[in-house]
């Protein structure tokens, strides 16, 4: 496994995975914090009733729901497509690394990249809020919980997209699914709560730590058992799929 992870790390350099993650961090922070420097927003920076941090956090939830499913699909697609194009599955098998092991190694490396992305998004957005001059106490627990939940949903969907990219040679399928998933994630934020639990991408909305009630923000959280079930099922399915890939003859596609 260590050798497979080492190989995947080398592949990420040529695939510019880190550059892509960094660029997406900047894009998400810029879009989420777009209103920070407007006059109307600045007026409420010292007023706890205006809930400036909660507004900023909800902005991040919206932008992350829109971009994260596509980012996960792109990362998984890029990391797997090279195996399809360069007979990588065959070469790895000759070296004693089955397709399932290779997928798990890819999950580890891309998981680290997504961890960096989620943490950097939260930290930089908080820093942007402070630089802009928000004086109200920061709801750090709320933000940390959202960052952790965002990372867990990203990882759950990463498993799905890695499997999809490995099974289907045409990366249009994985990217199309990611794009439609992003659509679902964004609209799940605007629809009744149960909608968010129907498809995996809805969890980007379900994990929102704030919700709008009337003209103010209230604390919100995903249903614990449903979220735990989703994460456990995703992990079990991914590991099961990897085992099947390892046992199958030839490449996974």
């Amino acid at each position: 496994m260590r050798m497979a992870v080492g190989l995947e790390v080398h592949k990420t350099r040529r695939l510019r995975v880190w550059v892509l993650c960094l660029v997406m961090v900047v894009a998400v922070v810029a879009l989420s914090g777009m209103n920070l420097f407007s006059e109307s927003a600045r007026e409420g920076f010292a007023d706890p009733a205006a809930q400036p941090w909660e507004a900023l956090l909800l902005g991040q939830v919206m932008i992350a729901a829109m971009t994260s499913p596509v980012l996960v699909a792109v990362l998984a697609g890029r990391q797997v497509d090279i195996e399809h194009q360069g007979q990588g599955w065959f070469m790895a098998r000759v070296a004693g690394l089955g397709p399932g092991l290779l997928c798990r190694a890819k999950a580890v490396v891309l998981g680290v990249a997504l961890t960096f992305t989620a943490v950097a998004q939260c930290v930089l957005l908080i820093a942007a809020g402070m630089v802009a001059g928000i004086e109200v106490t920061l709801p750090i627990t709320l933000w940390a919980r959202y960052g952790l939940c965002l990372l867990l949903v990203d990882l759950a969907l990463l498993g799905l997209h890695l499997w999809l990219a490995a099974r289907v040679d045409n990366q249009l399928v994985g990217l199309g699914v990611g794009l439609l998933g992003a659509f679902y994630a964004v609209y799940a934020l605007l629809m009744p709560t149960w909608v968010a639990y129907v498809l995996p991408w809805g969890y980007y909305a379900a994990i929102s730590p704030v919700a709008v009630e009337g003209d103010r923000f209230v604390e919100s959280a995903p249903v614990p058992w449903a979220f735990a079930l989703f994460l456990c099922a995703s992990a079990a399915l991914f590991l099961g799929a990897c085992r099947r890939l390892d046992r199958a003859e030839g490449g996974p596609a």
């Binding site: 892509l20 660029v23 997406m24 894009a27 998400v28 810029a30 879009l31 777009m34 407007s38 829109m66 971009t67 596509v70 980012l71 699909a73 792109v74 697609g77 890029r78 497509d81 194009q85 045409n170 990366q171 249009l172 399928v173 990217l175 199309g176 794009l179 439609l180 992003a182 659509f183 679902y184 964004v186 609209y187 605007l190 629809m191 009744p192």
Partner: protein, 248 residues
Amino acid sequence: MILAELTKLRRSALWAVAIVLPVLAVTAGSINYAANQGVLSAGWGSYWSQVVLFYGLFFMSMGVAVLASAAWRMEHRGHNRNLLMSTPARTAAIVGAKIVSLVLVVAVMQAMLLTLVVVVGVFVLDLEGAPPWEYVVVALLGVVAALPVVAVQSLLSMLIRSFTAPVAVGLLGCAIGTGLLYSGQGGVVSHLFPHSLVTSALFLGNGAVADSAGLDLAAVGPIVFAAVVLTTALWALSARLLSQRDLS
């Protein structure tokens, strides 16, 4: 050549994206409209604004990025690119045929969106009055405004063998485009950025979006002009780069 391109696309899975994306936009917009009738004003205006809200902001451009990658994917496989370059056609014609065939797919996407908006609005939501003709203009304008996005994504997909890399650049383009439009710093620059142009066009006359312009000549003219100029420039650049690159 355009017919040849369309034949290549005939069995491609890209039609699934071109059809499912508008279906999702209308379904989600309709449910959102129906669920928030207490907050939204009743009528075609609110319904339309809910349908195109995220579609115009992000998903139409991302859909185009995926379509362009899919259209060039077949040329990057095997020796298809060499075969294509060995035909007597000029590079401008090769790139032009790709752009036109992709625009036709985008037009189908927009026609689908418009038809579904009318069908759901009349028969499901039972909205009063006839659907406003302005939506036909906005949908058509969306196709025109998508021309530069098609051209730039086609250029990227032509240059980059990877399927996903041009889509990743497209994702970044959407982020920059939205930032330019809504940071209030864009001005003329937002008309020179392909992804902003799509959002500007689809949000014309949209009551749900702050600062969206009305559907008049003063707003439509610059969008059409910018789309034509950008597309021509990107087409010429694509043709030049294709003629300069070695066979793969």
